[in-house]
Every structure is written in structure tokens, then in C-alpha cells.
Symmetry: D2
Subunit: 123 residues, 4 copies
């Protein structure tokens, strides 16, 4: 399978330096579970490929829909894990900001960002 | 990339004959749009692979969540297309059943099946 | 359960004439289950009022969110019931249109309408 | 309007003292916006009552589904507001716990609780 279609979607520049202030460290919330996330995403990728094969093979539409629902559910689980780790690391990290003059704004920014991300998942 | 993980998820038997009575014909609702569905699923597969690459590259969790929400949305669009074609073909096909003695039951079965599938998408 | 709040609903104008062409008959899909739908909606209305009282009483935010999720779930069940009955009556009704020259368009219109409604629920 | 049907759903004990340790103060995240939440919930309650009236009046099923989708959307907005304020107050409050020996556990408990609540909304 070619990699060309990947290039359309996301620039895969290897580990660009993070924007200043975007988070506390290169160590994200999910870093300690990175392998688990990669395994789950690899599995989801295989599920999507399986759905394409079902379409290719003219499988029954309801069976395809069942598989699509399973992928949705798996993605929800990944999202929730990321949300949990984001709140636990990035929001709590902002709350630990020693400079009280910027702390409240840092917290507000992180909380707003997390809520917006959750809102996109709810839609 | 190996195909081994696909095998874990879905039996990929090439075009098995459909179970008797499951639908009216090998021509499913989505058959006429098969290529469009395959392109969309291929694109979604690439998006999931892109998310894995973001995790690999320690990208910011919120940016990953944004991509997950985009995949959810793309899957919703695929689901809705399949639902539309299922209702238009399989349900309407049951309604065209000439034998009036089995028609009502055939319709009920198809409608129930469609609603259950939609319910799994809503969850 | 008291009769007072029911009175709000029962004083509604009885069965106004339906818009021409909007559906096959005054008998909608849900008509036979009308009482059950009214009971479920009355219950949901009470749940929403209960949530307001929790806010009024400064209850814990997570407990309020749990009740909001319960209302979402109850509304999903109502939606699915309506979708099922819409497909079974309005779509199938269009499929039973005797005039073959307008039948296909009638079916398409009903299926499109149902799918759009499902799409609004998925979002 | 009687309170009897409310009692079925939620215990309406007036402002019971909060369980120890459940949050930092009687002042919840949403307290400052309490009136706005009450107005929104009152409006949602009216929307649900309006849906019941549509069923009573035999309105077209698709139009009812459109209203149900509108209530879902309004409830999502309320949920997101509560989530934002929960994270900003309860989670951040735990992060401000001066006793370092209990802080990490307090944060974990709040983050877990928030994520579980978000998970219930996503389903």
C-alpha cells in the first residue's frame, strides 16, 4: 500500500519543536501511554481498512454500519483517554504555574482549549 | 505495512455469497457509489494513520483531539450515506414485495434492522 | 402524578388538519403509540425541571452532568422510536404510491428527509 | 404546577450540605452563572413541553425530530458549560491543595470524575 494518500492529510514532519507556551514540556499527558495509543490507533486503522474491504466485497449495508459504529466507539475511547491526560497534565500544569500574575490566565486558556476540544467531540 | 492486523479484525473472505433473504439482490444500495465510498474510506484510513503519527511525534494533545473529531465527522458522513441507501433500497425493496402475505413482516424486519443500526450510531 | 401539568398538554387544539402533501394521512407512524410518547416526554420534562432544581440547590456539577446525560439518552430513545415509525409509515407509504410516474420521486424525497433528520440527531 | 412528578425523578432536598471532600466549597464552578443556567434549563423544559404538544397535535414526525435535535443541541451547550466550569474550579481547586501528600490523589480523583462525566455525554 502506498503512502501517498497520507501525505495529503497531515504533514509528518518529524517531531518539530513545540510552540512556546503551548504546553509545559515535550512530555505530554499521553506520553507514558504512547505505545498503548499507537496499538489502539493501528487497530482502528485496520478496522477502517476492513470496512473498505466490506464495501469492495458488496457486504450487507447493515453489517457495514455495525463496523462503522464499532470504529466510532473505539475513537471515543481514544479521545476520552487523551482528554483525561490533557486535563491531568496541561490544565493541572497551568495551575502549578508559580507566577501568580499569569496563573489565572494560563488556567483559563487551558480549560477553554480542553472544553472546545470536548465540544468538537460531542458534535 | 503488513496485512496481519487486518486479519484479526474482519474475515476478508472474497465476496462470499450473501445469506438468503438478507437482501433483495447482490446490488446493494451503495453499489452505484462504491468507488466514492472506497475513496472516502481510504481517506479516513489515512487520517487515522496520521493521528498515529501525531502521537508518535509527540504532537499536542488538543491537536490530536481535533483530528479525532474530524475522523468522527467523516465516519458520520459515510454512515449517513449508507443509511440513506439502505432505506432507499432495502426497506423500499421490502415494500415492493409482491406477495402481500409476507410483505408487512419483510418491511418490519428491514425497518427494525435500520433503526437498530441508527441506534448504534447514536450511542 | 397530578393532573395539573397534563392539563397543559390536553388543552392543545385537537388534531389540526395536516398540510397538504406532507404525508399520506393524518395517521402518522407514531399515532398508535401517542400515549406512550406523551408519557416519555412528560418524564423528560420532569427530568429537565429536576436538573434546574439541582442548579438552584447548588448540587455538585458532576451529579448534574449525570442527569443531563440521562436526559440525552431518554431523548435518543424517543428519536429512534420516531425514526422507526417514520421509515415504516412515511417511506413505506411513498413506496406504495400506485402512480408509478411519481413513486420514485416520492420515495427519494421521503428517504432524503429521513436521512437529513437522522443526520441532525447524529451531530 | 404540582411538584409531585418531580419527586419521582430527583430528590429535591433543599440545599443539603455537600459531602465532605467532594468539592472545595459550596461555591461551585457554575454558581456565578446560576441565573443563566436556570434560564437555559427553563427554556429547554419549554422546548420539551412543545415537543409533547406536537405529538398531541399529530404534527409531522420529521418536524418533531428537528425539535428533538434542537433540545439535544441545547443540552450539549449546557453540559459543555458545566464541564468547563468543573475543570476550571474543581480540578484546578484540587491542584491548589497545599498538602502535597494528598494533592496528586485529589487531582487524579477529580480528573477521573470529569472524564467519566464527559464519557457519559459522548455515549
Amino acid at each position: 500500500m502506498s503512502n501517498t494518500e497520507d501525505a495529503l492529510l497531515l504533514d509528518a514532519a518529524p517531531s518539530a519543536p513545540d510552540e512556546a507556551g503551548q504546553h509545559q514540556a515535550v512530555n505530554h499527558g499521553y506520553t507514558s501511554n504512547k505505545d498503548a495509543y499507537l496499538r489502539r490507533l493501528k487497530r482502528i486503522e485496520g478496522q477502517v481498512r476492513g470496512i473498505a474491504r466490506m464495501v469492495e466485497d458488496d457486504k450487507y449495508c447493515i453489517d457495514i454500519l455495525t463496523q462503522v459504529a464499532a470504529v466510532n466507539k473505539a475513537l471515543h475511547a481514544v479521545s476520552l483517554g487523551l482528554v483525561e491526560e490533557h486535563i491531568g497534565h496541561c490544565v493541572v500544569g497551568a495551575a502549578a504555574e508559580p507566577d501568580a500574575s499569569v496563573r489565572a490566565d494560563a488556567i483559563d486558556a487551558k480549560v477553554k482549549e480542553a472544553t472546545d476540544a470536548i465540544g468538537r467531540l460531542l458534535r
